[in-house]
């Protein structure tokens, strides 16, 4: 699905230079469920942003579906992104002024999809994540778990094949966390590739592979059998 080759990301602010990723080599196959772990500030989010094409690497190569996307223009990356990649954030990042339904629909708004199909897909995905009865509610009227379910729905409504989740359970209590994790697991079983950042060992258990980062390096990669 994607391959990072000797990839580095350096942030320069004023006089400080931060090496967020340092010669990272990672390959992720389609259908995988990968967890990324590591202490705070080790570059996990940066890695996810680069994979999600929200940020460009400073050096190295990024091959997405056999295409080297390093030199692609922003709008071309945006095109790939909106078709193939869904995002889930720790803080949900729903738009406060839009209802649940509208928040989900937003992910289809920038695709050329007829209204009818759009509505059908939004309804279907709301059913799937069990939020249909809250369709007209505003985000502020929902619990954290419910908000994150909306975010998950939004990430997959465009039939994205890769989901990048940055600490999706970070703001949730353990019950709601489990709920979101099982949803991700179900999506993975249906064929969606998932790359997730997490601090929780119990949640990383859902993944087939764990990548440990430290100071921008890949420390270890453990492949594990899921029981």
């Amino acid at each position: 699905m994607l391959k990072l080759h000797n990839l580095s990301k350096v942030y320069r602010t004023d006089e400080v230079e931060t090496v967020a990723l340092n010669n990272v080599n990672i390959e992720i196959e389609a259908g995988e469920f990968v967890a990324i772990m590591g202490p705070s500030g080790c570059g996990k989010s940066t890695l996810l942003n680069v994979i999600g094409m929200l940020d460009s690497p400073s050096s190295g190569e990024y091959i997405f579906r056999d295409e080297s996307v390093g030199q692609y223009s922003e709008s071309r990356l945006g095109d790939i992104r909106k078709r193939s990649i869904g995002f889930i954030f720790q803080s949900f990042n729903l738009i406060d002024e839009l209802s649940v339904e509208e928040n989900i629909e937003l992910a289809l708004l920038y695709h050329d999809i007829p209204v009818k199909e759009r509505n059908a897909r939004v309804a279907a995905v709301m059913d799937k994540v069990g939020i249909a009865h809250r369709a007209k509610h505003m985000p502020s009227q929902l619990s954290g778990g419910q908000q994150q379910r909306v975010a998950v729905a939004r990430a997959v409504v465009g039939k994205q094949s890769l989901i990048l989740a940055d600490e999706p359970t970070g703001n949730l209590d353990s019950a709601h966390g489990q709920e979101v994790m099982s949803m991700l697991q179900q999506l993975n079983e249906e064929g969606t590739t998932i790359v997730m950042v997490t601090h929780s060992p119990s949640h990383s258990d859902y993944a087939r592979r764990i990548i440990n980062l430290l100071d921008g390096h890949v420390l270890t990669e453990n492949l594990r059998a899921v029981g």
């Binding site: 940020d55 945006g78 738009i95 708004l109 465009g158």
Partner: protein, 836 residues
């Protein structure tokens, strides 16, 4: 406490340069406009207030109303009215004076100038107690021909003001050249005086026995007539007496021209001198006053514009402050937690607002100081502005600044001070509520409605001016130079000599004479009666027609077509008016040309039908005449388009021809002018030449409107700039506020143009609504203004201007918002989403 406010205000200004710039600059521009307009309005309102007893001095105006003609109005009165009314209403009148303007040539040594003399009854200083520079009303204004000059004139001729006893040669009074001694020097009249007196002469009525239409008349209106009323009487009181007199005691009751009450046709008006400048415009008709009059409508219009600009600038302030409130919500919350009351927080914000306004005022004062000369030139005034000597004005400005500060600061103050600290600190929210967003949107609507409205007004004023200019006046204005003042005594006897000399100059095609040239707004009225062929005319009524005098070749020179019959032609020999002897029983005979309107008014169904018919009229300085219509000229806009076409009769009466029109076919104008001047000087050494191009005269008719249009354009441009600045600021803050949302949308695949469209649309709605408000309002205002034009643009034109202004307003709003939105939309979304 206050120091703390100023300090926080200063820090906030420094830390938000965009916000501060928009506020201070916007307010400064608003205040500058306000001060400039205030100076203009103050100048307009202060006219003649400096006169001693200004509140008791009035002037008598005349109006003649008839059913089949537009009313004839003038600010002058008939020569015999002053004495009659002064004696009749002696319980009200303290003194009266008549002023008569005469335009002789003044010669002192090698200096020769055309000047305007004011002849006044000796009672002048009983009415106008004007200050003397040298001499006094008792010692200097006693005997006939005692002459006072203004300081300006003294300096012009003698280089000093102390010129009592000096001699002037004046040419000419009733054909005589006079030596006149200066007996006193008047201080220069201020620019705000309606009187315009360079030379003031004691008038003895018998001096004008040669011209009975000047003083010894009830019907010919040539004197400016003033009264000083006794304490306790107003212009209205006196007018009531004048009307009673007109109906019951006046000689008009005996005249057979009047049926019913004389005041049905003769309607004198009495106006206080302090009202003249702004209110005499209607009474002045097209003959004008001593000086150009002001226009009350302009005073209102510009006061309104000043207020609107200030409102627009204040709205910026309110909008930006509340928009920014999100950033300051925490500060407010913390202050409250630390014990600040709501009142204290409100005071803080008001203090900040007033501080900013004061910065703006300082800036505005500097700008006013710098731009005043330019402004004076643009509006043709002599406004002065010096803070040091004008404490009241300064106090007023400070009040305005505080007022604007309070007005602009009140909403943010109330709004920000209301924040509940717990909620804001806990929820970590911006505290910006949808309610305040709606108010901001409403204010933007209001702001843009003002700008668009001003834009439409400006556009309509402009297109009306262009329309008036582009209208075909019907006569030829190209390559024509007019020599004025051929009636002056040195010239009048040798008119033909100069014509014969001028025609010899190479490049001169023709030289024709007339009493008026097209574009001159004189009005000459007299009664004409259509005589049936054999009848004595008893069956027909007099109708009042305007008349001009045109010499041979006049119609040909101006390319005015003769649609029936013929024009004046030397070949026929008898076209000229020959005056009949005074007291003669038999009428003279002469030929006339009339215009199409006159033919219609006389009741002819076609121009052809009019030819050969005979009119009877008492012709000025020619006695009773039978006038055969030899031709009908096409209607042309002889006068300004403002007044439309008058039904007119053309005589060819050589004695009254005082303008010469030279048509030339050369491009060497300096050479031509040089030759014309040399020729003139050789024949008339004592009379300075006065010439003007017809094209310039026609253009001058629109000068006032053009000046108004330009000023309006300038001020509405300022309003638009301020409004756009505000919109830019608001768009910036909104974009900032929506960065997270924009980030999310971008992550979900929105492109830069999607984001820009989103923001642009947010600000298009208020501008669209603003158009809905602005169109009908502006429409109403401009229709009222257009009423005063005889020929005006139609409603489709106004609609077009509305559409243009609307489209422009949207475009400007788009560009303003988009320039900001693009920047925000380009930003990397993770910047917005990372910190949570």
């Amino acid at each position: 406490m206050f120091k703390n406010y100023v300090l926080t205000a200063w820090r906030h200004m420094a830390s938000n340069p965009l916000f501060s710039f928009i506020n201070i600059f916007g307010l400064a521009v608003g205040l500058t406009s306000c001060i400039l307009i205030l100076l203009f309005v103050r100048g307009e309102l202060s006219h003649d207030k400096q006169l001693v007893d200004a509140d008791r001095i009035v002037r008598l105006h005349s109006a003649y109303i008839s059913s089949d003609n537009p009313p004839f109005r003038t600010v002058r009165a008939a020569g015999r009215m002053m004495e009659a009314l002064r004696d009749y209403a002696s319980e009200q009148v303290a003194a009266g004076v008549r002023l008569l303007q005469i335009g002789p040539t003044v010669i002192v040594g090698d200096k020769v100038f055309n000047e305007t003399f004011v002849f006044a009854d000796q009672s002048f200083f009983e009415v106008f107690d004007l200050p003397f520079a040298h001499g006094s009303s008792e010692s200097s204004f006693n005997n006939p021909l005692d002459l006072l000059v203004s300081e300006e004139i003294a300096v012009k001729y003698f280089g000093r003001t102390d010129v009592v006893g000096e001699l002037l040669t004046v040419c000419c009074m009733d054909g005589q050249q006079l030596e006149v001694k200066i007996t006193g020097v008047l201080e220069n009249l201020p620019a705000t005086s309606h009187l315009d007196i360079d030379f003031l002469v004691v008038m003895q009525p018998s001096m004008f026995d040669f011209a009975p239409n000047l003083l010894n008349t009830w019907t010919s209106v040539n004197t400016y007539t003033y009264f000083k009323l006794k304490q306790g009487f107003s212009a209205a009181d006196f007018k009531e007496r004048v009307w009673y007199w007109t109906d019951h005691e006046s000689p008009f009751t005996q005249m057979d021209m009047v049926e019913g009450n004389p005041t049905e046709q003769i309607q004198p008006n009495v106006m206080a001198v302090t009202d003249l400048y702004l209110n005499a415009r209607r009474d002045a008709g097209n003959m004008g006053d001593f000086k150009a009059l002001g226009d009350l409508r302009m005073v209102y219009a510009f006061s309104g514009v000043a207020l609107l600009i200030l409102i627009v600038a204040s709205i910026n302030f309110m909008n930006l402050s509340t928009a920014r409130a999100s950033q300051r919500a925490r500060e407010v919350a913390l202050r409250k937690v630390l014990g600040a009351s709501r009142r204290q927080v409100a005071l803080q914000f008001l203090g900040e607002a007033v501080t900013i306004t004061f910065f703006a005022l300082l800036l505005a004062l500097v700008v006013v100081e710098m731009t005043l000369p330019l402004y004076n030139e643009a509006i043709d005034r002599e406004l002065v502005f010096s803070l040091a000597s004008e404490l009241p004005l300064l106090a007023l400005l400070v009040c305005v600044a505080i007022g604007v500060g309070l007005l602009s600061g009140s909403y943010p103050a109330v709004y920000l001070s209301r924040f509940l600290p717990a909620r804001i600190l806990k929820s970590n929210q911006s505290g910006d509520e949808s309610g305040s967003q709606r108010i901001r949107a409403a204010l933007v609507v209001f702001q843009f409605a003002i700008s668009i409205g001003l834009g439409i007004c400006t556009a309509v004023i402009y297109s009306q001016t262009l329309y008036a200019r582009s209208m075909d006046v019907g006569y030829d204005v190209s390559n024509k130079l007019v020599l004025h003042g051929l009636s002056s005594s040195e010239v009048s006897n040798k008119k033909q000599v100069i014509v014969d000399q001028l025609i010899r100059i190479p490049g001169v095609e023709s030289v024709v004479l007339s009493s008026e040239v097209p574009s001159q707004d004189n009005e000459n009225n007299t009664g004409f009666r259509l005589l049936d062929i054999q009848d004595d005319g008893a069956a027909n009524d007099d109708i009042i027609l305007n008349y001009y005098n045109a010499g041979y070749g006049f119609f040909e020179s101006y390319k005015i077509n003769i649609v029936a019959g013929r024009g004046f032609d030397k070949a026929y020999g008898s076209d000229e008016v020959i005056p009949v002897a005074e007291g003669s029983e038999t009428a003279g005979r002469a030929n006339i040309v009339i215009n199409e309107s006159a033919a219609r008014q006389l009741g002819f169904s076609s121009s052809q039908q009019a030819v050969g018919k005979v009119l009877r009229a008492d012709v000025f300085r020619a006695g009773l005449q039978h006038l055969t219509i030899i031709g009908v000229a096409e209607d042309v806009y002889f006068r300004s388009l403002k007044f439309g076409i008058r039904a007119s009769v053309f005589f060819n009466h050589p004695a009254t021809l005082r303008e010469a029109t030279i048509t030339y076919n050369t491009t060497d104008l300096p050479g031509l002018l040089d030759q014309i001047e040399t020729t003139w000087k050789a024949i008339f050494p004592l009379t300075p030449i006065s010439h003007e191009f017809v094209a310039d005269m026609v253009n001058a008719q629109y000068q006032e409107e053009e000046q108004q249009a330009e000023l309006f354009a300038a001020f509405s441009l300022l309003a638009v700039i301020i409004a756009c600045l505000g919109l830019y600021g608001l768009a910036s803050f909104t974009a900032e506020q929506r960065t997270r949302e924009i980030g999310i949308r971008k992550v979900l695949g929105a492109r830069v143009e999607d984001i820009v469209r989103l923001l642009v649309w947010q600000f298009s709605r208020p501008v669209l609504v603003a158009n809905l408000i602005a169109w009908p309002t502006a429409w109403y205002l401009v229709s009222g203004w257009l009423e005063s034009f005889e020929y005006r643009i139609g409603s489709s034109e106004i609609l077009m201007q509305c559409v243009i202004a609307g489209t422009l307003s949207l475009l400007i709003a788009w560009i303003t918002v988009a320039s900001r939105a693009i920047k925000v939309a380009r930003a990397n979304p993770i910047e917005a989403l990372r910190y949570e």
